[in-house]
Symmetry: C2
Subunit: 337 residues, 2 copies
DNA sequence: TTGAAAGCGCTAACAC
DNA sequence: GTGTTAGCGCTTTCAA
């Protein structure tokens, strides 16, 4: 691989001139620039990004740290980030923490040591510590929840979404609504539970702890939770499930138990699914603008990298309730019509 | 952020000694090593990976270049790669090419310039050129198809899988089997079509070009293809769909057309889906060991990085036909029982 | 066993 | 407008 020195030698100029040409050619006499560019093309020279990174103390890489790469929510966010980043010549390094605080901390160390330009993070838990990054001047944008007063954040309104979904279930004929939420200490999980609880209390229904379970945001967690709830002496007639992968587990548990959806148990999930309209019954979900969330996060980050020094900004999206068949009990639906 | 010089100064030793301690402490007197380590811990020093990368002309990063991050196949492969890579202290940089040769070429340039240790690539098309990487001594492992005699490859047997799936459809009562495959020039797409064709010809059925369509490996492509086929004067009574995202499109088109599955049209998809058992009817698919494919690719790559110089190796997995409801016509099923 | 010093490839003062 | 040169932080001869 050619280095800048070889190009300089071949073109009969200094490395500084080559560097200038590579970086836009400002302050280089056009004729010379053209000649140098010719040599660059001829050799197929590309600047060594590692050397440039060392010299500049910054790279053109932004990292995206997500909790679960197998969740369509995050992959869509990722596309949003990537498209926006590319427009500003950043490449995106994706790190998957598997919802583990340890893995997350490991990645943050590596990212800091790699001098990434900035980090977009969907923090694993409330104990997540991004000072590793911020203390070295690496900009951070949070997805999902606020990490601090000075850290930009893009999120959707989990609280309102959960409240609306639960109210919807109650309005459409459910009397005993359960909630399966994510892990303790995870902001989105807690907020969604809180929204559920608020809707329950607004409806003057006594909150029943038996109908609430913290699970792991994966299929297996909600599968077990749903099985338990269905075997209760007084089982729920509706379940609000706090993310999309858990919805799959709940659906599977209902199927296996021979429980009819929505007539015996209604179902609403948080986060849409690409196939939510293809099941029988189709699934009512809270849709979030996933791509836009990613794009907004990247935009905020790029602005920081371009020198923006405003205090921590926050972009909040409203989830949209997409009503499908899984939440409309027959009797209630008839009643409504 | 502390540098090696500051640590050296604080410990009263040379940077060489600090470097030795950081890298395992061989050849350093144990007492000294301990003292230096104390200072390192006290300062929270972590070596600058960019500087190390420049000096070593190699980083501890491997890149995974995939065609479609929204495809569960790739995300699962990704997890396999990541877990295997982490065990050898590599971090994984994920690049999504969107099935675009241009994006792919751009990423390969960047990766080369970043001196990544190695690249695992699911090449976008047959024109993919990895010499950018190999000419700089960067090891490459291909996923999906062989990129050259010296390049390791991990793939599943698309040809056999497609043949089996098509034969299965014919055995279970279909007479006019269609095939929706991926883009022209994409190896997996061509091989799956070829396997389909072989099964058709083995069954002494005349190959009908009307029943074959190249689409884009996404929902919308197969949606359009399915609509066209269903409106044919002599429509198919079964469709073999060459990947999982396209299966969704086919399913949706059948639903909208009011076509009953499997009795009017049977369906089989290549690649399993996390929810293939949850639709009504459930979907017959060819399951590939996705996680293992990723893990195997990472293993091959790490071996190369550790000095393995064998000629190009190939690991081939056999897809498993998971028969569910979408491919068993009622009459035929009765007949079989 | 330890240290001095060169140099990885690049950019940006600064000098001309 | 162009060149000289220092130095980013690290590893690694080589000498002591």
């Amino acid at each position: 691989m050619a280095t800048i020195r070889e190009i300089a030698a071949a073109a009969g100029v200094s490395t500084a001139t080559v560097s200038r040409v590579v970086n836009g050619g400002v302050g280089v006499e056009p004729g010379l620039a053209k000649r140098v560019q010719g040599v660059i093309d001829e050799f197929g020279y590309t600047p060594n990004l590692v050397a440039r990174g060392l010299r500049m103390q910054a790279t053109k890489v932004i990292a995206l740290v997500i909790a679960d790469i197998e969740n369509p929510f995050f992959t869509s966010v990722c596309r949003g980030v990537e498209d926006a980043a590319r427009r500003h010549d950043f490449s995106v390094m994706l790190c998957n923490t598997d919802e583990s605080a340890t893995k997350e901390a490991g990645y943050l160390d590596i990212l800091a040591a790699q001098s990434v330009a900035g980090v977009i993070i969907s923090a694993a838990s409330s104990t997540s510590d991004v000072t590793t990054l911020t203390s070295r001047g690496i900009s951070v944008v949070a997805i999902g929840r606020k990490l601090g007063p000075e850290i930009d954040c893009v999120r959707s309104d989990s609280h309102a979404g959960a409240r609306n979904a639960t109210r919807h279930l109650l309005e459409y004929g459910a009397h005993r609504v359960a909630c399966i939420t994510g892990p303790h200490g995870v902001a989105t999980a807690e907020e969604r539970l809180e929204g559920y609880r608020e809707a329950i209390e607004n409806a003057r229904i006594t909150f029943d702890p038996e109908l609430v379970e913290y699970a792991n945001f994966r299929e297996d967690g909600s599968y077990r939770a749903t099985r338990r709830m269905l075997s209760l002496a007084n089982p729920p007639d509706a379940i609000f499930v706090a993310n999309n992968r858990m919805l799959v587990g709940a659906l599977r548990a209902c199927r296996e138990a021979g429980v009819e959806i929505p007539n015996q148990v209604s179902l609403v999930g948080f986060d849409d699914l690409p196939w939510a309209d293809l099941t029988t019954p189709s699934i009512t979900t809270l849709r979030q603008p996933t791509y836009e969330i990613g794009a907004a996060a990247a935009r905020l980050l790029v602005e920081r990298l371009q020198g923006n020094r405003e205090p921590g900004r926050e972009v909040v999206f409203q989830p949209e309730l997409v009503v499908r068949e899984s939440s409309i009990k027959r009797a209630a639906a008839n009643f409504k019509n």
